[in-house]
Symmetry: C2
Subunit: 232 residues, 2 copies
DNA sequence: CCGAGCCACTTTGCATGCAATTAGTCCCGT
DNA sequence: ACGGGACTAATTGCATGCAAAGTGGCTCGG
């Protein structure tokens, strides 16, 4: 018995909705972000087709979509490789992300529902309850973090903002993991999240915007520092 | 002689490099933005394949890319249609665009080269030299406008910003054309462009940012007003 | 020993065939 | 006459074949 279907959501098994290309896109995106394919690795269509149980056509389509997300680089007639992120890329990416997420927080402040606020609280609570730095814990923290940011962006109710964020939201987990392994940064991040929730609950758009911008830019600076320390 | 090639760069004509899918993508994007395919029109792969002299495969790939740009909507097994923009969409889109282009202007202020400044001046001069409101003039004005904004974004030298803008930059010309048909709005827009260039030349990042934001938000408000007048 | 050129294998990109699904139409029953 | 259901035609989505371009290795010459 094979277990490749573990990478799919249960929903997509019980309800095989959507095209094959979309599934390959989702799964491959997850695999890249999850670090299964390291940056620079070549992505050959035939190997991926075999892995996902389809032909090369949907794989090719998925790769083009991933190129649009900035996760993959395709050179005509030369193939696709997982995009590598250098320090400059990350700074650029985080600054754009800071702008967009700050705007999302601003817009969310006046639209967010009690349910969404409760979901944000729950995400913070779950993150707070976790302690230690096992691999499993780091994974859960990252998932919780993504959920938090996802709720804020969704509350902004701006399709274009969501779409624009897609182009900067995809960063391999390998990079982000350093946040959640460092307990100091983890605590700072959690405090920032609490602050953002409080701002949103108060309906204070500008405060929420500033809090989110601070949060993302803090993450940027920490990431830069870590990269400099590692490369020097 | 036709002038559809105005939407392409000269380079892509003289050097037919790249895959077939990319050409279809560029051409089809130009055709949609140019208004050749009205919103809501179904895009059948076979017809497009015949038009572009390829098979259905590259057309299909181009359609998926255009969906990523928000110009096309694809429903699985039901086909692709040119996306329709309602008033809410346009407001959303212009607000995100205002944020991103303002940031681009901010970043450009400290990086822009004399050559780029000269190119901006030239674009303004060309727009100013044009008068009247013939169809040809409107086309040229829109092309000049796009060139102006393109130079500013390029001067920001932020790949992620450029990428994020792609998702909000594609608006069918039919909508934008109203700016340039109204000579009042045209003059205001031109004055705003001059102001932006002056800010950039002065190296004043915040001023450039504000000027650009004002420019885009002014366009947004004018567009909203026009749409309300037309629909009421 | 090293480099340039050539050849074979690999891989991509496009075209086309085929099955599955949907839209449209017509017929039939009520 | 009108609504429902089945059939047909059209269209999508996927698989695969094939040609072209690229990559790597090998040989041969310097």
């Amino acid at each position: 018995m094979d277990l490749w279907f573990c990478t799919q959501t249960v929903a997509s098994v019980s309800a095989p909705v959507g095209t094959s290309a979309e599934r390959v896109y989702e799964d491959l995106r997850g695999a890249i972000i999850g670090g299964e394919f390291p940056p620079g690795e070549r992505l050959r269509t035939e190997a991926l087709a075999e892995r996902f149980g389809t032909s090369r056509t949907p794989v090719r389509e998925a790769l083009m979509l991933l190129e649009g997300d900035g996760l993959v680089e395709i050179e005509p007639r030369r193939g696709a490789v997982v995009r590598a992120f250098d320090s400059n890329d990350l700074v650029d990416l985080y600054e754009v992300r800071a702008i967009l997420e700050a705007r999302a927080a601003f817009a969310a402040a006046s639209r967010i529902t009690p349910d969404e606020l409760a979901a944000l609280d729950a995400a913070c609570d779950r993150a707070e309850a976790l302690s230690g730095s096992s691999r499993r814990t780091v994974e859960t923290l990252m998932a919780t973090n993504e959920e938090f940011h996802g709720i804020v962006v969704a509350a902004a109710a701006s399709p274009r903002l969501t779409g624009a964020l897609r182009t900067v939201a995809g960063i391999p987990r390998t990079f982000k993991a350093v946040f959640w392994a460092e307990s100091d940064e983890c605590r700072r991040s959690l405090a920032a999240h609490r602050d953002i929730v409080a701002s949103l609950r108060a309906g204070s758009a500008e405060r929420a915007e500033s809090a989110m911008r601070l949060h993302v830019l803090t993450a940027r600076d920490f990431l830069i520092e870590v990269m400099r320390d590692r490369q020097d």
